[in-house]
Symmetry: D2
Subunit: 352 residues, 4 copies
């Protein structure tokens, strides 16, 4: 027994968070503090003077680790795996030294999501400085490519909106049940998705009691959805994606309008979902009640439903943008990379 | 002077509200108390014991009228025009005696919106008992049919979601700029749209921090949109309408996906809108920022914008479901019926 | 008739707003656009390039006035009265040239509220540069000192929290019904009270679903309450004031714990209130239901109630911080200064 | 190892929830599903037809236990400990048969909180039918009386407001640092505290954007506070308690005004708190920033701070009413009764 206990201690996974002062970091910490194997070894930020509990008063008494500056060698000495929570463009300058130092990286920015650097550059408006690692980065959707993730040195953690669209759509496209053209993804998100930096747009009295669309035709998650659906579904797709701001903290609901290629009810779609996600620890298929952000709040679940409506099928999917849409999915990726069960420490299905 | 004063008193429009204890009544009262010509003559409800300021504590000291029971002759003796705020099915039993007694009626229920009684019966699941008046009822969209409204004895005040979809779509369909097929109307509404009766679904802790679709393929505003667009646009249309609940009090934002029949940018759509609504006191066309429920909150305005996105045009429209979506539009109808300017008492454009 | 009409046209009051880009200005504009006599003659801000409807998209189509820079002579040429909505410290540099140019001023900042410049300087941490006008400034609580306001050249518009505390307390102190010691004012405010500048503290995801006290013992409205209660109540008072942030847009509720000097129920307190405010167009005394910010939302009313509890009396008062707590009360002051009825254009009691 | 694993299985604590369809039950389930030792053995409700995931769609796929009717013998056969989540008055009829059957009970209703049946009867307006067990019931504040709880057969889980007031006040009263007279407890709560039954008062559009006091002088948590402070502090106290409704889901902030008996700053109060709670797994003492419901949201922590203000000390305390104010504290009690560490499964301080 004693030996077994020591063994589990030595096999613990030492992780670092770089860019520790943002909302994604806070959410990672909440879950990692509860994870049976992960050990939070290091917190890195440009504000190294403060303890993490001054940055996040929520954490007072829960974690006392000091903030340290970004030094790849020091990080590699203390951590086996890094969660990179810095903004895009910064991430691609941090990844090469980290990989070179031998640390595995889960990048929560957008820098390694788009495999085509040209597409990246046209949407993000700056050059991609790390095309070499871009080639080997694995898009981290654990429900669709667990094996690649397990073997990866660098995982690009998916965007929140793309996760909500790709998971329901990929199996249907792959099975040829829906056409790849004229897919409409209408999404709404809680405001935490905009990050922690204050702005006029996200000032409380501007956002409260307000519902509106934004970035129509210009949101960077659109090419990410298109790329992933082409990859996982096997066909080029044509997507119209319109995001909305919803006056709440967390949650994404996507309402997706597709054209079935088969007649009759949605049974075959449900079969395709069950075949794809029957073993998935966090995908839940619903009929009634329909998915709601409330049912997945503070969890790593994604709920999905599908109905027939005239010549369309209408899919709704719900997830918590900070968990399945960011930190939770990153921990799923960590679990796979470390050889743990995918759902470890994340309140997976049938845990009891 | 004295004579003039008396004259303006006698020319005042005496109005009654039947079904005075719901949210629509409260909103009517807020605006009518401020209207320069309307005189609130009578409040009718099944709860005649209470003063209105006990039903609506907001109104303490502002209006002291007692609640009275429903008696058509008494109403006709004291009011020139009635706002009917009772539930559907009840409304159609109240309208015949009111019209027979010589009062003009603006019905805020759904009973006289669908011209085809068979369509009504299949969506509302009960027989239509007043087909005679149904034939003569005018659908009360003042921006599209002011003359018919002015002459009407019975106006069917439009639904909140339909107003948000019909106003932007009708001119585009009529001008042939968009196809009538595969129109997708994705809407979100504040919770006041569900009315004042408490329910498990609209209990605060269920609705707060929740965003979700409901009644997919089953919402009664879908046939209302289809009928009005066929009438005002001149062609049968095929609409997929999905409403959502947004955690806020008021406001509807509709995001509408249409297929242009013309190439190029959205200029011709904007021209069609300007031609249709240039003189409209409450229609505003926006480009940047996009429409938001916040910009129309507590006003009678409807804001609309249109963008090109791939092979689609994307329209967003915003209104306050209690004002332009209900009470405010009803007062526009009242103004037209009484021969007043359409925007009187409603903070119309260019008022100062 | 014609003469009378012309007279009322010529007698219209021309007003300017200086500091036109903040929330108080927006609220002033909403009410002034509807006011039967006020004419919005000029909008002044440091951002003179933009039209006001770009600063406030709510106002599109409603007012087209250009923004102009601050030039006292030009303002005096076009306006009879100015609403000064600039921050404290700035206000005291604008007032002297405006008064010198012959314009009357309603200052919505704190610069002329505290009659003792030393008290001002210790709380606001900078020197008072206009002690001369400070002497003559009138504290603008129209329900307590209408005559002084009517004659004033410079009115200091009260703070939002002080209005909620002074109005219920002053008559009770003056009548000797409560002791001046150990008065506890526990207030909560919607976030619009924090102004329009974005900050980390008022970022939506920080403020939503959060309730907390702030500035305990350090809020600048505490000395304002103490001064006004001493002035209107006739005795020095000892107040503990603790404000809280409530996750909503608008509204202040103050819960005030006082010590009665008389035995028995609260009847004598109610009598004192009725004697003080029987003719007041916006003060409402309630018993059940208790005051709620919801009942005064978007109105100029202040609701108040009083209960006995052990050895204490507990008062609750509610107002909308943007209306009775700022712009609405400023318009009451304007009305008095111009010789109009105090409640003109503000949906006063018994208007119909 | 295998033997060890089996041993830990047999030593698991089997628990039942009676009254499984309310918010407290949902919160218990969320935490118990994650608890390393508790095994959810039985769910009891008057609605035995439905699976729990139909009552709480959040739980789909997470727990499949059927709902069963209330049968004491069956419960005793399957569970070692019961969480009783039924309304007051019902609870006192369930407790005797459960204790007789040999199950230990944590009652989350108010039935066993007030030790004096007469006080109970005057506040709850019905007779107490189980005075025998009332004598032996232990008030379950684990931070103040862990040993009694560990040995108890029946624990009365404290109310949410009382927890927020008793924990900061008890050590100060006991140490004689504050006077027992004229203690003012001003609290605000999220709406989940009102339970899951819909009502007009808690209908979303009534509660959203509303802040108000309620039940002044009439809230049943006032005698509970007084009793516990007399018991833990050793002196009769005189409390004025005013609760408020805050438009958010969860959280209580109490702002407490006390009179120090000692001069000078609050150091001695802080010392008393540290002495009382230094080993407490969930009590956190803060200075800046002040406690906020946001910092304890979805956690079992209670945060407290104290400031000096004139002749008063002002305490603020924050907790999540569903966790430290209900289900979380109940699980602390369960842990103590089962001999586990007090903070097991609750994300206690210094867990990693």
């Amino acid at each position: 027994m004693v030996a077994g206990h020591e063994e589990s201690m030595t096999s613990a996974l030492r992780v670092a968070i770089i860019g520790a002062s943002g909302y994604t970091s806070l959410e990672l910490l909440r879950w990692l503090l509860r994870h049976p194997q992960a050990q939070i070894a290091m917190l890195v930020s440009r504000k190294p003077e403060q303890p993490i509990s001054e940055i996040f008063p929520e954490l007072l008494g829960r974690i006392e680790l000091p903030i340290t500056p970004f030094e790849p060698a020091a990080i590699a000495g203390q951590a086996d795996l890094v969660f990179l929570c810095v903004p895009h463009a910064t991430a691609m300058s941090y990844v090469p030294p980290l990989l070179a130092a031998g640390v595995r990286v889960i990048d929560l920015s957008a820098d390694y999501r788009l495999k085509d650097a040209g597409v990246y550059e046209s949407w993000y408006r700056h050059a991609h400085s790390d095309r070499e690692n871009l080639i080997h980065a694995v898009y981290g959707l654990p429900d669709l490519c667990a094996a690649e993730i397990a073997a990866a040195k660098l995982v690009a953690n998916p965007g929140c909106y793309p996760t909500s669209a790709i998971l329901p759509l990929a199996p249907l496209i792959k099975a040829g049940l829906i056409g790849p053209q004229d897919i409409i993804v209408n999404s709404g998100s809680g405001i935490s998705g905009a990050g922690r930096n204050p702005s006029a747009q996200h000032h409380f009295p501007e956002r409260n009691e307000a519902f509106e669309a934004y970035s129509i035709g210009a949101h960077r998650h659109a090419p990410e959805m298109a790329q992933a659906l082409a990859a996982f579904g096997g066909r080029a797709v044509d997507i119209v994606f319109v995001p909305h701001l919803v006056p709440m903290d967390r949650g994404i609901l996507s309402t997706i309008y597709v054209k079935p290629t088969v007649a009759g009810p949605v049974d075959r779609a449900l079969q395709a979902w069950r075949a794809a996600y029957g073993q998935s620890p966090f995908v839940r298929i619903r009929s009634s009640p329909l998915p709601s952000t409330k049912y997945v709040l503070n969890t790593n679940y994604i709920d999905m439903a599908i109905c027939s409506y005239g010549r369309r099928w209408v899919i709704t999917s719900a997830l918590d943008n900070m968990v399945k849409g960011a930190a939770g999915q990153a921990i799923e990726n960590m679990n796979l990379m470390a050889g743990y069960p995918q759902g470890m420490g994340l309140d997976a299905k049938g845990q009891k």
